[in-house]
């Protein structure tokens, strides 16, 4: 169980983004989080995945908290895939950055073999995002936070990516927090939906 306990955060010289925020995610569960743009959803995603430290509160992963050795058990999939891939690398190197990645994941996500020898600038955003998703499913991953991962793609690509995501999450018993401003998408994929604006405890 991934517990978000009593988390508060604000950036310097600005108001509180959220205060005393609490919720939990079970393994194998898909939780949708809905909220308006600019309300702090991405910041929350970075706090849960340990990119940013909260001002108050803890993120407790299966009863443990603190520093983990090796691959962090909660992985973030970023909104913009082109930013999280080294532009000088070939895509095969991006895949190899994760040790022990299951080859089946690559097939399920529809990644083609001929993409491996290309550079990130030679792929479309949707194709690149599939690599970033594959990378999040490391053997160590127990939870995934997907932050607006399909918001820039067309409906067909969105459907393909989410279809593969749901299959992978259920198959591997991974807890997924899907963040989006697109309520209809969340209704389709989630087991339950949290409204971010209701739990953030600020005006």
């Amino acid at each position: 169980m991934l517990e978000i306990k009593n988390i508060s955060f604000k950036y310097e010289r600005s108001d509180w983004l959220f205060k005393h925020l609490n919720f939990t995610i079970e393994q194998g569960e898909i939780v949708g989080m809905y909220g308006k743009s600019g309300s702090g959803k991405t910041t929350l995603a970075k706090i849960i995945t340990n990119y940013v430290s909260p001002i108050e509160g803890d993120v407790i992963i299966d009863g443990e908290k603190g520093e983990f050795q090796g691959i962090y058990p909660v992985q973030l999939i970023w909104q913009h895939p082109e930013k999280v891939v080294n532009p000088k690398w070939k895509l095969i190197e991006v895949i190899e950055e994760v040790e022990g990645l299951d080859k089946e994941i690559i097939n399920i996500l529809g990644i083609k073999k001929e993409w491996f020898n290309r550079r990130p600038s030679e792929l479309s955003g949707g194709e690149l995002q599939r690599f970033c998703i594959a990378r999040a499913f490391s053997p160590n991953t127990r939870y995934i936070v997907a932050d607006e991962i399909t918001s820039m793609f067309d409906a067909i690509t969105q459907a393909q990516i989410w279809h593969a995501m749901m299959k992978l999450v259920k198959q591997r018993n991974i807890g997924l927090l899907a963040i989006s401003h697109h309520i209809h998408l969340l209704e389709k994929i989630s087991d339950r939906i949290i409204d971010f604006n209701n739990i953030c405890n600020v005006r």
């Binding site: 691959i71 992985q75 930013k83």
Partner: protein, 277 residues
């Protein structure tokens, strides 16, 4: 569509031109420098029956007061300068890379490296160079160490800025969350990113190193007089300038400037070429 296509083809033409320039400059440069390896001792031997000849077809740069052919001596001298420059700027580049990577490790180290950069930049190169070469007793060792120790700061500053930029890149942060060690990130993310800058910086260091080597040898703190370095040739020839033997100074001087100019042009063209990628 058409306009982007035209822009593309213009771009490739531009790149081809740059590449041609680089190849041409390299060709010139190799003729200039590597010919020095082919010149043996006998070609710059003293020959008193042919002393003090002004430039002619047989002796392109004339001969000196001992009858040595100045053309051959100049090529030999440039070759020696090239070797000293190569060694010194390699050490400088390695020093710059090491220090800039060190600076990225912690805030304290960054502070120390920045202070060192400012310190070395605030002393004129030539003064520091003379001091270091003098302390080490002159000779090739003194010059190489002197140049290496005075020429790293500008390159270090460039590399440090590059690392600061890439350090905050999202793909490096993500690499950390995938459990990669600092060494792994340095090797796979930082160094490939720095190599073009390092290479261009190295090539641009070169003319500096050669000029300073000649300057310090000219002033008498550098290479010993029996070595046919350009600085030695120039300082010896100064004594004979008043007797009207102008060719002893003019041609070696021009050759030195030509070599430095070629190298500088090479570095600038390489930078343009790499930055377009």
């Amino acid at each position: 569509m058409k306009s982007t296509f035209q822009m593309d083809s213009q771009n490739t033409i531009h790149r081809k031109r740059l590449l041609l320039k680089i190849i041409g400059l390299l060709f010139f440069f190799f003729i200039f420098v590597l010919s020095g390896f082919l010149i043996g001792e006998e070609q710059i031997e003293a020959n008193l029956s042919e002393k003090n000849l002004s430039p002619s077809l047989v002796h392109l740069f004339g001969t000196d007061w001992l009858g040595r052919d100045m053309f051959m001596r100049t090529l030999k001298g440039l070759n020696l300068s090239f070797q000293v420059g190569l060694l010194a700027s390699s050490i400088s580049a390695v020093l710059a890379l090491t220090l800039s990577l060190l600076a990225s490790k912690s805030r304290l180290l960054d502070y120390i490296v920045t202070i060192l950069i400012d310190l070395f930049l605030s002393i004129p190169h030539l003064v520091a160079l003379i001091l270091i070469a003098f302390v080490l007793g002159g000779g090739i060792k003194g010059i190489v160490v002197g140049i290496a120790l005075t020429h790293w700061p500008t390159l270090t500053r460039v590399l440090r800025a590059e690392i600061m930029q890439i350090k905050s890149a999202e793909y490096v942060q993500l690499s950390k969350k995938l459990g990669k060690s600092r060494m792994w990130i340095v090797k796979h993310h930082f160094i490939p990113h720095l190599i073009p800058q390092l290479f261009v910086g190295f090539v641009l260091l070169f003319p500096h190193a050669i000029l300073h080597e000649s300057a310090i040898t000219f002033l008498g703190f550098g290479l010993s007089p029996e070595q046919p370095a350009i600085g030695i040739i120039l300082s010896e020839s100064m004594k004979y300038l008043s007797t009207g033997m102008w060719w002893l100074v003019l041609f070696p001087g021009i050759s030195l400037i030509a070599m430095v100019a070629i190298f500088d042009a090479l570095g600038n063209n390489l930078r343009k070429f790499i930055n377009r990628e």
